[in-house]
Amino acid sequence: MRRIQLHPCGNFKEHYEQELSIFETDFGRIWMWIGLMFLFFVLPFISGPYFLYVVNIMGITAIAAMGLNILIGFTGQISLGHGAFFGVGAYAGAILATRLGFPFLLAVPAAGLVTALVGMVFGIPSGRLKGMYLTIATLAGQFIIEYILVHWESLTQGTMGITLPAASIFGWDISSDRGFFYVIYACLIGITLMTVNIMRTRFGRAFIAIRDNDRAAEGMGIPIFAYKLLSFAISSFYAGIAGAIWAYYMMSITTEPFTLFLSVEYIAMVIIGGMGSIPGAIFGAVFITGLNEILRFATDTIMNMGVIASFGLNLAALREFTFGLVIVLFILFEPKGLAEVWRIVRSGFRLWPFSY
C-alpha cells in the first residue's frame, strides 16, 4: 500500500508522471468518488421530475460545452457554429433512428461521427484563416447549416420536425427521466475522461501549442492544419453526441432551437466556466442552464402576479438583457471564469486560517 499523498508545501515534482497525474493529492480522488456516489445513488432519488429534467439538460449541455472548450479554450479557434453542429447531431440521430432503424446505442455515436465530418468540412477555412476571419467564417457556417436543416425537406422534413422512437438499450427502456439521467451522466463521465486524457497526450499538447503561438507550433513541426481539423472534429463529435441524446430525450425535434443564439450560449458557457479548463465547461453549462431556468421561473411568477401583467410589460425581453449582462460582467470582472473562482475558494480552504 502506497502512502496517502497530502498537499505538499511547494512544487516538489521529481518525475514526469507526477506532472501528468490528474489528482495532485488523494483528497481530490476521495472527493471525486464521494461526488460520483452522490450523483448516481442519491441525486436521482431525492429530486422531483422537474429538477431531474433540469439536471439532465445540464448534463447534455455540459457534453457539448466540453467540445467547444476543446476548440476555443485549448486550440484557440473561435467557432460561432457550435449550436448548428448540435443541431446536426440531433438531426443525424433522429434520421438514423427513424429512417435506418438504428438502436439508441448505435445511433448516438454514429450521429457523433456524422457531426464530426460536418465539423471538419466547416473547419476547412481554418487552414487559411485565423482569428476573427475564422470566427466570421464559422458564423457563415452557422447560417448555412441552419438553412440546410430547414430547407432540405426530403431529409429533415423541414419545419415539421421529426418524432423519434423511445430510447432503449438492449430492450431496457430508458425513456424516463431517471433512465436518461444514468445514460447522460455515464456519457458525460466517459467524455470527461476522454477529454482529460486527450489533453495529456501529444494531441492535447499540440492543441495548446497552436493556441499559444501558431507560428512557433508550426516551427516545432506540428502540422497545424491537420490538428486544427482534428480539433474541429473532436469538438463537433461531442456536439453531435449531445445533440443526438438531446433529440432522443426530447422525443421530437424541429429546426427552431439551433440558432445563432444557441451558439452564443455555448461560447458564453465556455467563457463563464473558464476557458481551457475541463471542469470549467461543466460549471459553465450548469450556470447557464440554471440561469435560464431561474429567469424563466422568475418571469413566469412575475407575469402571474396580475398587477404587473396588466401593464403588459415585455418581461421576456429582460431575460435577454440579463443574459447579456452576465456575459459582460464575467468578461469585465472574472475573465477566467468560474473555474478560477473555484480555485480561489479551494485554496482559501486549504490555507485557512492563514490565507496569506
Binding site: R128, F321, G324, L332
Partner: protein, 292 residues
C-alpha cells in the same frame, strides 16, 4: 427587362443601405480592430431615439435628426469608455463576446421598452423626391437614403483624408504602437471612433426605419448582414463597405427575384465563405499575407 431593371434599382438601393450600415462597423474596426457584433443594435437605438423624438416629443424633423445624431455620438463615447476600454489588449474572444453580450443587453432593453411590434415614423419625405425612369419607380425614401449615404460617404472621406483627428485615426489603424510613440492619443482615438461609428449607425438606423418601419428584430438582424458586406469590401476600407454593400444587395434581390426568397438570406454568407477562402482581405482591404 422591366423586371430586371426594377430588381437592379432595388438591389442598388438595398445595397446602399447595407453599405451605410457597414460604414460604422468599418470605422470601429479600422481604428481599434474590434469586431462589433452589437452594430445592429446601435442601428436600432438610433432608429428608436428618432422615433421617440418625432412621435412622442413632436420635435421638428430636422431638430430631431440632429438631436438623435448627437445622442448616438455621446452613447458611443460612453459605451467605449465603460465596456471596451478595459479590454484593450485582451484576447480576441473576450472582445467579440463582450460585443455579443452588449448586443443582447441593448436588444433586451429595446424590446422591454418598445415591444416587438412594427412601428413607423410619420411620413415626412416629399413625394417630389421620387424618381420615375420610364417603367421604373424609385420611391422617395430610397432617393433620400442614397443621397444621405453619398453625402456621409464624401464627408467621412474628407474627414479621414484631411482633418487632424481623421489622420490620427488612420495612423492608429495603420500601426498602433508607432502612433502611440508619435504622440497620438490612442485612447481618445478609440473613443472617437466608437462615437463616430455610433453616429453613423444612428443615421443608418433612421434611414432603415423610414424604409422598412422600425422593429427591433428586423433592424438588429441587419447587424449580422454587415459581415458579408465588410468581408467582401475589405474589413478596413470604407469605400469597400459601400461597394460590398451594393454587390451584396444586388445579389440578394436577384436571388430573391429569380430563384427563391428564402435562399436570398443565406446567399450572402455563401459568398462570404467563398471570399474568405480566396481573398480574405476582401476587394479593397489591405493585404496581410502570413503563411502558417
Amino acid at each position: 427587362m422591366g423586371f430586371f431593371l426594377q430588381l437592379f434599382v432595388n438591389g442598388i438601393s438595398l445595397g446602399l443601405l447595407y453599405g451605410l450600415s457597414a460604414m460604422g462597423f468599418v470605422i470601429i474596426f479600422k481604428s481599434s480592430g474590434v469586431l462589433n457584433f452589437a452594430h445592429g443594435e446601435l442601428l436600432a437605438i438610433g432608429a428608436f431615439v428618432f422615433l421617440v423624438l418625432t412621435t412622442w416629443a413632436h420635435l421638428p424633423i430636422i431638430v430631431a435628426f440632429f438631436l438623435t445624431l448627437a445622442g448616438c455620438f455621446a452613447m458611443g463615447f460612453v459605451v467605449e469608455r465603460i465596456f471596451l476600454r478595459p479590454l484593450v489588449g485582451e484576447p480576441l474572444i473576450f472582445v467579440i463576446m463582450l460585443t455579443v453580450g452588449l448586443s443582447f443587453m441593448f436588444k433586451g432593453l429595446l424590446l422591454f421598452i418598445f415591444g416587438g411590434n412594427l412601428q413607423t415614423y410619420p411620413g415626412f419625405l416629399p413625394e417630389g423626391l421620387a424618381l420615375n425612369l420610364g417603367s421604373i419607380y424609385v420611391p422617395p425614401v430610397y432617393v433620400a437614403s442614397s443621397l444621405i449615404g453619398i453625402c456621409f460617404f464624401v464627408l467621412f472621406g474628407l474627414f479621414f483624408k484631411f482633418s487632424s483627428q481623421g489622420i490620427f485615426m488612420r495612423s492608429v489603424a495603420d500601426n498602433q504602437r508607432a502612433a502611440l510613440s508619435l504622440g497620438v492619443h490612442v485612447k481618445r482615438v478609440f473613443a472617437l471612433s466608437w462615437a463616430i461609428a455610433a453616429l453613423v449607425a444612428g443615421m443608418s438606423g433612421i434611414v432603415l426605419g423610414i424604409i422598412n418601419g422600425i422593429n427591433v428584430h428586423q433592424i438588429s438582424s441587419i447587424g449580422l448582414k454587415v459581415f458579408p458586406v465588410v468581408i467582401l469590401g475589405g474589413l478596413d476600407s470604407i469605400g469597400g463597405a459601400i461597394i460590398g454593400g451594393i454587390i451584396i444587395g444586388l445579389l440578394e434581390t436577384f436571388t430573391c427575384g429569380y430563384i427563391s426568397a428564402s435562399l436570398s438570406d443565406v446567399v450572402p454568407y455563401m459568398i462570404l465563405v467563398l471570399i474568405l477562402m480566396i481573398r480574405p482581405y476582401g476587394l479593397f482591404g489591405i493585404e496581410e499575407i502570413e503563411r502558417v
